[in-house]
Amino acid sequence: MIRSLARLMPVLATTAVFLAGFLVCSLVYPNFASMRVVMNLMTDNAFLGIVAVGMTFVIISGGIDLSVGSVIGFTTVFLALAIERWGVPPLLAFVLILVICAGFGACMGAVIQYFELPAFIVTLAGMFLARGVSFLLSTESIPINAELYAHLSDHAIRFGSGARLTVPAIIMLAVVIGGMVLLHLTRFGANVYALGGSRAATALMGINVPRTTVLIYTLSSVLAGLSGIVFSLYTSSGYSLSAVGVELDAIAAVVIGGTLLSGGYGFVFGSFVGVLIQGLIQTYISFDGSLSSWWAKIATGLLLFAFIAFQQITLHLARRPARRSGRPSPPPPAAIAQGVVRP
């Protein structure tokens, strides 16, 4: 259907841009177009992909969550302490931390909802708080030596030539698919979109806005916690400074993926591609390797710009103004057929 296609345009554009970028990289670097690079892209960005899914929900609902990076950091520290110092079995520690994160997210959502405060600032305070508490827990990095960790980090689906679909990558893919189902196929997902479209109207339509808001931030924090678990698997350690600034990466990924920061529009899949685009830029830069620290930053900025500009152009070309009405459009009138002079 043409109309649903039009709605999908931003995602399609983003995907096209990613594929084009990958193609260019492959042409420049012979080793690039390998299964290994693709799998690395998945594994290395797994934690980002997971938080980006949560962030997609938050942003579509018209909010923002700046606390996710700190929550990841907190999670890794908590897990390390729980498993190594307090002797909690890893699986129980996972459950515990997810519950703590859920509570944390629910609190932020409740403060946003019941005190009518801007999400940006409430979650900024949440960001300070989560990071601050992890400092209080431990400022040292703590290795996690639990059996399960060694087992999970070795476990991977291997494709030969060193390409491995690791546990973090599998978790991320599951979260992306789960997120798509939840956002696009459930009542909760529709409510999230509605909130982003108009908060006041959603309330007037008889939707329980407070509950939905609290749930959205809970979801985001739980996914940040899950991302923290993945991060701790990825690094087998806990460290209070880990994942600093991840919230900005996640927001950028979501927005690059075609989600409007003002809420109401966007797709989980787009965010996933946004994450891959960011990963691609980094991989490109490290393949190049000749860039000094500053040129690497400038190149990152320029590539970001190139991707976004390209996406914008694609959208522009694809989105021919098509206003609709309840009645069919007229056939081209005679005046046009006769050829009217343009002003």
Binding site: L185, Y193, A201, N208, G326, R342
Partner: protein, 511 residues
């Protein structure tokens, strides 16, 4: 004329509400019976919408109790009201513009299968539901791609489908045309037969007498009276609403001026834009009112948007004072001293956060440029003048406009453009949501503006109204100008005939 309510479905007692010292509702009582359509009437700002919102718990009331079928209820949110069986269409369209029509119709109650929304089933039901309202649209498209009128019908359909016991409609017909209104009334009669109680707010008295059983009138937040329809003839009703007699200036129209006798202000030739409106010719003259008539979505709004440069024409020419001009943006149109009062008040008209004064001076200020700020004194004067002229209530220029009632917002928007003293004023549905008293005043205003030599281009769905002031009516159908009526040919039957099917459509379009 007290009534004996033996079994009221819904009864309110002593509803009061004040906003920061301003009393919007003062001990209002109200009863609704099962199977009746109850008109809730009053001037702009009388408190109708506030009464409704306090009823459904959207606005918390200061005092008052409410019983539904004898049991006391106190919903604290729209959600609880819906659960109690009270479905409401609020005054402004309150739906999620970004969701599909189908999602909007079923938000929160979509058909599901193990928690997953059954999209197909939902669309099927949505399409079926809208068919009842004579609407055959793509229910998968986002709501915002449709006009306010269609959005309004969707909102009504949603509420109708939800209403278990009570249905409240706050000015549902403001943006509908005669046909849609008939369809709506047919539906309301069915609901009534099923024993549902309906509260109906409108400023169209004809509609009140066409479907309602009883009337409750509010004035300045107080209950002015309740009566069965038969006991309250039109003149009494108006007196009850206004608290005074309505000056009978509306009925007659001054003789039409011969179009060609007046100087042309702007001339458009073969002007149009693909996909929006077919190329048309249009001449606007000083002291001359051109009306645009047509069904919903016939392209009236598109026409005026092109004229004002809100949309760029892709063919044709425009001449102002005999010189070729390009109208590429509202700014350019304003430089030519055009003004445009858009139809979609909430999204294209008001800036809700700003005060009434700031909203009124906005266009004038934009015209002067940022570097020539209007002195505060002048702003106050302008605001005070128009608040008086248009009777904007409450007459407080420093109140955020978003807090005004719908009709008063509309008046402030009109003031915004009048303040720029335009040569050509384009009004898209200027009387939408305006009460009877103000309605007459606005029509009188249009006439006097015209007499002062302003050119007017007016879109209106109210044909009776259009014929009272238009010197020329252009009829649109399917996004093309299909007929032009001038002079004494301007009357309702002729317009209706042209809308239905003009015999010589293409020829008439470029007369």
């Amino acid at each position: 004329m007290p009534l004996t309510d033996d079994a009221p479905l819904l009864s309110l007692a002593g509803f009061s509400k004040s906003f920061a010292g301003f009393v919007a509702l003062d001990r209002v009582d109200f009863t609704l019976r099962a199977g009746e359509i109850h008109a809730l009437l009053g001037e702009n700002g009388a408190g109708k919408s506030t009464l409704i919102k306090t009823m459904t718990g959207v606005v918390t009331r200061d005092a008052g109790t409410m019983r539904l079928q004898g049991a006391e209820i106190a919903p604290r949110s729209a959600e609880e009201a819906v659960k109690a069986g009270i479905a409401t269409v609020y005054q402004e369209v309150n739906l999620a513009p970004n969701l599909s029509v189908a999602q909007n119709l079923f938000l929160g109650r979509q058909p599901t299968w193990f928690g997953l929304v059954r999209e197909r089933e939902m669309r099927r039901r949505a399409a079926a539901l809208l068919t009842e309202f004579g609407l055959a649209i793509d229910v998968g498209a986002p709501l915002e791609s449709y006009s306010v009128a269609i959005q309004h019908i969707v909102a009504i359909a949603r509420a109708v489908d939800q209403s278990a016991r009570v249905l409240i409609l706050d000015e549902p017909t403001a943006s509908l045309d005669a046909h849609e209104v008939e369809v709506l009334f047919a539906v309301l009669r069915q609901l009534k037969a099923r024993g549902i109680g309906i509260v109906f707010v409108t400023h169209f008295l004809d509609q009140v007498y066409a479907v309602c059983d009883r009337i409750t009138v509010l004035r300045n937040g107080r209950l002015a009276g309740t009566a069965p329809i038969a006991d309250l003839p039109r003149l009494d009703l108006v007196r009850l609403m206004l608290g005074r007699e309505l000056s009978e200036a509306t009925a007659k129209r001054p003789p039409h001026v011969e179009g060609a006798a007046r100087a042309a202000v702007a001339t458009f030739a073969a002007f149009g834009k693909e996909g929006q409106v077919a190329p048309f010719d249009l001449t606007l003259r000083a002291g001359h009112v051109v009306g645009l008539a047509g069904l919903l979505g016939s392209g009236r709004t598109e026409t005026v948007r092109l004229v004002f440069g809100a949309e760029k024409a892709d063919c044709g020419t425009a001449e102002v004072d005999g010189r070729r001009v390009a109208i590429g943006s509202p700014r350019e149109a304003m430089r030519l001293r055009f003004g445009y009062c858009p139809e979609e008040r909430k999204t294209e008209g008001i800036v809700a956060d700003l005060t009434v004064r700031e909203n009124i001076v906005l266009a004038l200020q934009a015209q002067r440029g940022a570097l020539a700020p209007l002195p505060r004194r002048e702003q106050d004067e302008i605001a005070a003048r128009f608040i008086r002229l248009l009777d904007i209530r409450p007459p407080d220029p420093e109140r955020p406009i978003g807090l005004l009632s719908g009709g008063n917002q509309q008046k402030a928007l009109l003031a915004r453009w009048l303040a720029t003293s335009p040569r050509l004023l384009i009004l898209d549905e200027p009387t939408r949501g305006i009460d009877v008293g103000a309605h007459a005043e606005i029509i009188a205003l249009i006439r006097s503006l015209c007499a002062e030599g302003m050119a007017l281009l007016v879109v209106s769905s109210e044909l009776e109204e259009i014929v009272t002031y238009a010197d020329e009516v252009i009829v649109l159908r399917d996004r093309a100008h299909v007929a032009r009526l001038t002079g004494n040919a301007v009357d309702v039957p002729a317009i209706l005939a042209a809308i239905a099917d003009a015999p010589a459509a293409p020829a008439a379009a470029h007369a």
